[in-house]
């Protein structure tokens, strides 16, 4: 293992003012097909970051291990996708993860919403895990027949991992939802907080259409029926109602993020921004 940090930039100029030590962001201008893949890769990546916040803090040791193991699978999936798009665009996975600006991330907003650090409940983590894992599972199963052989191969592995994620998350949704009065109350609150962000998972735009026409992957709207078929019976078992979908639409997949995204990126990117190319 090598440690190869570039020398620390000088932080004070001759005049005594503090100069910026922040690395320039990359200029990333993906094609619609590349943007389609970045939506998936970024969703895995940002979900990983939020799950990792639970490391050392989950309510029980087994779940601490579980959440970080889920994150491990997800970061592997993110790396595969970012590396694949990076080969087409001249960047490596680290540049794409750590040197893009907020507007260049295309994850669904659901995954960037506050987690443990902001005092959000464990129930929020459980419900988000479940809703996301179910969506990823349906998505990966369709990407197995992608016209892009590398994407089909990545999906072939990821779909198996996502099955275990769904089963594990479903276990907790039922345990909390059908648990004590307190756990049910907090799980219902989590569902009410998160549900409005699920509409974005099934929207359609030009990027989806381009991907579907190229055979690269499915339009998000086509995932809805199968997602419902996973979510509904687990919610029923948990005693949770499926809320009505209102008019609100989150826009992370278009690069317009919630107010929480900047803080998340600041933490995620600070090391590579400060020590460009650092390895360990």
């Amino acid at each position: 293992m090598t440690t190869a940090f570039a020398p620390l930039p000088t932080t004070a100029s001759a005049s005594g003012s503090v100069a910026s030590t922040t690395t320039e962001s990359i200029v990333f201008a993906p094609t619609p097909l590349q943007a389609y893949l970045m939506r998936i890769g970024d969703t895995c990546l940002i979900h990983t970051q939020r799950l990792a916040e639970w490391s050392g803090h989950a309510p029980i040791l087994e779940e601490d291990i579980a959440l970080t193991n889920l994150a491990l699978d997800l970061v592997g999936q993110a790396r595969a996708l970012l590396t694949h798009v990076g080969r087409q665009t001249g960047f490596d996975e680290d540049q794409l993860a750590f040197l893009r600006n907020e507007r260049d991330f295309r994850n669904v907003t659901l995954v960037e919403l506050p987690g443990r650090r902001a005092g959000r409940d464990f129930a929020d983590a459980v419900v988000r895990n479940f809703l996301l894992a179910a969506w990823m599972n349906v998505l990966w199963s369709k990407l197995e027949s992608s016209s892009d052989a590398e994407i089909a191969a990545i999906a072939g592995k990821a779909v198996k991992e996502s099955r275990y994620h769904v089963a594990h998350a479903a276990d907790w949704v039922v345990r909390l939802g059908d648990g004590t009065d307190e756990s049910m109350r907090r799980t219902r609150q989590a569902v009410d907080r998160l549900w409005p962000y699920t509409a974005e998972l099934f929207e359609t735009d030009g990027i989806d259409t381009a991907a579907a026409e190229a055979g690269l992957g499915p339009m998000r709207v086509s995932l809805k029926a199968e997602w419902d078929a996973i979510v509904a019976p687990v919610f029923a078992e948990a005693g949770l109602n499926i809320p009505a979908t209102g008019a609100f639409r989150s826009t992370g997949t278009r690069g317009v993020h919630s107010e929480h995204m900047g803080y998340l990126l600041a933490e995620m990117q600070t090391l590579q921004r400060t020590l460009p190319g650092g390895q360990w």
Binding site: E62, N69, D73, A153, R163, A167, P233, V234, E237
Partner: protein, 200 residues
């Protein structure tokens, strides 16, 4: 697998024997060939190519495994070797060899059941409630049978025997374990905790 090439080249044959002793860094009881991740060894003019299929997307041992393989081939005088990745078809625990399963058991890790047979296994009545999802007719090892909804993990079918005393009376303690590929169990008969290699 290029069985033809293996038979044709003593160098490739030798390389397979070398790989048989390259241990998985996270489960150092079994080798990379026991694990079934070495898919091919190809002799090129400029060296050997070892084709490896990763176990889990995020397995942190991937780089170490590639280095170990390359080092072992070099040490045996068969180098240079380069390790390449083949993602498809995806690795499955069904590729773990019978010898690998025996080694896992001897090391105290319950080997994975076959993905195909687990899919038809029934949930025992003691493993969950009898209403709702628990009364679904069948569930795969991955919590899903064709056309059926996902099942909460505690209701999944399991038939994991204790690797120490062989008892079938075991219970799951944790869905995840010390590495991505394992979960944690306890034997009700001999009271020993043990790890289980998850079928995938």
């Amino acid at each position: 697998m290029s069985e033809h090439a293996r038979a044709a080249s003593p160098r490739v044959e030798h390389a397979w024997r070398v790989l048989h002793d390259v241990l998985d860094p996270e489960v150092p009881a079994i080798s990379v060939t026991d694990l079934g991740i070495v898919r091919d060894v190809i002799a090129h003019d400029d060296g050997l190519e070892v084709v490896v299929t990763p176990t889990y997307s995020g397995c942190p041992a991937t780089e170490v495994i590639a280095q170990s393989i390359s080092d072992a081939i070099d040490a045996a005088g068969l180098g240079p070797a380069r390790v390449t990745q083949r993602r498809a078809p995806a690795w499955t625990t069904d590729w773990i060899t019978p010898e690998g399963r025996d080694k896992l058991r001897a090391y105290g890790i319950a080997p994975p059941g076959s993905c195909a047979s687990e899919a038809t296994a029934k949930v025992s009545p003691s493993e969950g409630r009898t209403r709702g999802l628990a009364s679904s007719p069948s569930g795969g090892s991955d919590g899903r049978s064709v056309g059926a909804p996902f099942r909460p993990i505690r209701l999944m079918a399991r038939n994991v025997d204790c690797p120490r005393c062989g008892s079938a009376q075991t219970e799951r303690l944790s869905a995840f374990g010390s590495t991505a590929c394992k979960s944690l169990y306890r034997c009700v008969a001999c009271r020993e905790p043990f790890e289980h290699f998850k079928p995938i």
